[in-house]
């Protein structure tokens, strides 16, 4: 008796298939398949289609994903490649991607590359092995052979946050130029003229775009073009922020404001400035980029550029799905630039007169 129960339980454990609901309704399995698919349901009599839906719900039928994939070659899974989930910039993007995907019945497999191209290549390999329907890459470099190759093989690809030089790859990015311009306008309005810059890695589109913007708007604003005011970082992290700041201070070039290519560089910069006895913002104003979580709780709270990471993630997913679902995708790749916003907090303040003496005619105002 208990044995019987057990065996019954065991057979009932197996998930129901199309055949099970077909038997329950008394129709053929293909009829069920059609009734369950919204795109083919119209082939079926409303009445019987209704019975099928009911039975399917009653039996708690769930399509077998593997069988579906084997037959159709679609997995409803997309790969999401990021440098490091531990970097606070990325979680909102990931969340946006996942929310948008979920709304369409898709899911994401997230892989971390730590910004290493070989690791990215092997990640792409894994994802393709899983048969992902598309790839969203937040970890992309301006020139990225592996990603280019997978795109060339017909897999839809869109980058988010960063972009490739090759315009054939769709992208969702922030308005880097507008952000840097807003920062410079703000600092100039506070009376700063000698403004230093810690630039991001130039192999990343964000690093390059922000440096380009800095140079362009610096000139447009008539600020001094002193090469000693610019230092290149190797990575977007706090350690590089400290190193670059020390290089700047060692250079003996005078400056009253420091524009950092992102928040983490700024956090490191502030630590280094303090260590060298410079008060922020009393002596030197510092700005970041991204408006990371907690950056408003630092001392001083960071003046920075707020970007729409979550929205960017959503849009990237939508753009990708558009390409996946009508894979005819002959239309040109989508390139979106999201607006950004200056957030003024406590790390910027009016410039002090010091360093100003050389150009005292300025003071005439």
């Amino acid at each position: 008796m208990p044995r019987k129960d057990l065996s019954r339980k065991h057979t009932s454990r197996k998930r129901p298939t199309l055949k099970d609901v077909a038997d329950a309704v008394g129709v053929h399995i293909s009829t069920v398949s059609r009734a369950l698919n919204p795109k083919t349901r119209h082939h079926i009599t409303a009445e019987i289609s209704d019975k099928i839906l009911k039975a399917s719900a009653r039996l708690n039928y769930r399509q077998n994903a593997a069988a579906y994939t084997l037959r159709t070659n679609r997995t409803r899974i997309v790969g999401l490649i990021i440098p490091d989930i531990t970097n606070p910039v990325f979680p909102p993007i990931i969340r946006g991607v996942e929310d948008a995907l979920a709304a369409h019945g898709y899911m994401a497999i997230v892989v971390n590359t730590d910004g290493a191209l070989p690791r990215e290549a092997s990640a792409i390999d894994m994802l393709c092995g899983r048969g992902v329907d598309g790839v969203i890459a937040a970890s992309v470099e301006r020139d990225d052979p592996a990603l280019l190759r997978v795109a060339g093989e017909g897999t839809p690809v869109v980058t988010v946050n960063r972009r490739m030089d090759d315009p054939a790859i769709a992208s969702i990015v922030n308005d880097e130029d507008g952000g840097i311009r807003a920062v410079l306008d703000h600092l100039v309005a506070l009376g700063h003229r000698r403004i230093a810059n810690i630039a991001g890695p130039q192999k990343l589109s964000t690093g390059k775009a922000r440096l380009d913007a800095f140079l362009r708007h610096r000139d447009a604003l008539g600020l001094p073009a002193d090469a000693g005011l610019i230092v290149m970082s190797d990575a977007f992290n706090e350690g590089e922020g400290e190193r670059c700041t020390e290089a700047l201070l060692a250079g003996n070039t005078d400056f009253t404001a420091l524009v950092c290519s992102n928040d983490r560089l700024a956090v490191g910069a502030i630590a280094a400035l303090r260590r060298h006895g410079r008060a922020v913002p009393a002596d030197i104003s510092v700005t970041g980029f991204n408006d990371m979580p907690l950056v408003d709780r630092l001392e001083p709270a960071l003046t920075t550029i707020r970007v729409q990471q979550y929205t960017a993630g959503r849009m990237a997913a939508e753009a990708l799905l558009a390409r996946v679902e009508q894979s005819g995708a002959g239309d040109p790749p989508q390139h979106e630039v999201l607006p950004v916003e200056l957030v003024v907090r406590a790390s910027t303040a009016p410039a002090r007169g010091r360093g100003r003496k050389a150009r005292k005619e300025q003071a005439g105002q």
Copy 2:
């Protein structure tokens, strides 16, 4: 001519299958299958197995995951359920899980529940639909019917960071009790006696364990057991930290130190204390729990308990895979408690005598 090229390209685009490498070597497809599987390779002549390996590499053969899954009912995918990837506590866990899984050829599908039980239930539904081999849950409540059900259906489950009351579910957690004890010892050593507590949500094992520990060690240390010194939060976030702190201040109970059930509560608490003119740590010492990123850069840098999130993630994945791979899993569920470490920074300082006097005056009213 171009048409021919195109069609050839098109056929060559299709990924090679077992049949393709079988044809290339001149053996049967099942021989190839055996040769490619380490567990069955010994059935095959070394020489021919060698040829197969070579050909497979040359053709760049990759197993079709869907076919494998359809046949074997294993996906090599595990579901990872978390409240919100945007909460800085979770990325290190996720990273640990993914790294450990990757080492075994597995991948994770991450889903966010925002801590809502119904959302968790539907997430579990999706994951089961995908046929995941197991589930790791960081978002679990002490009583969690959906997770219990899926575990009951035979899917391996392990919780991380939190645990369920039901000991049948394997878990990897931190030493909450040891952490709270270390905090209290530290504060008592600084001369604090009237120590308040913002407790976490009691439906979460972390919230309950830390409150239990607070009560027990408070009594063991002979500290005053004043109910007014304890306030319950509804969630582990900054807003609740502020609200609870204001409740504490409104209660007119005197205290010189405030133990918060996690870092985010502490961040909110410090903001609220400041707003009410209390200096941290000069007037009131504050402690957190978790040692979140950036918490060392706050002003004042937070004294807190460092937990091993990354390691916990890794261990959870390892524990799950152990259950997945020898799915006989008759052995008792694994329960791991990871050691924690007190990190003393600037938010705690020796107690001031001033509390006593104020209290005496109040007694007069």
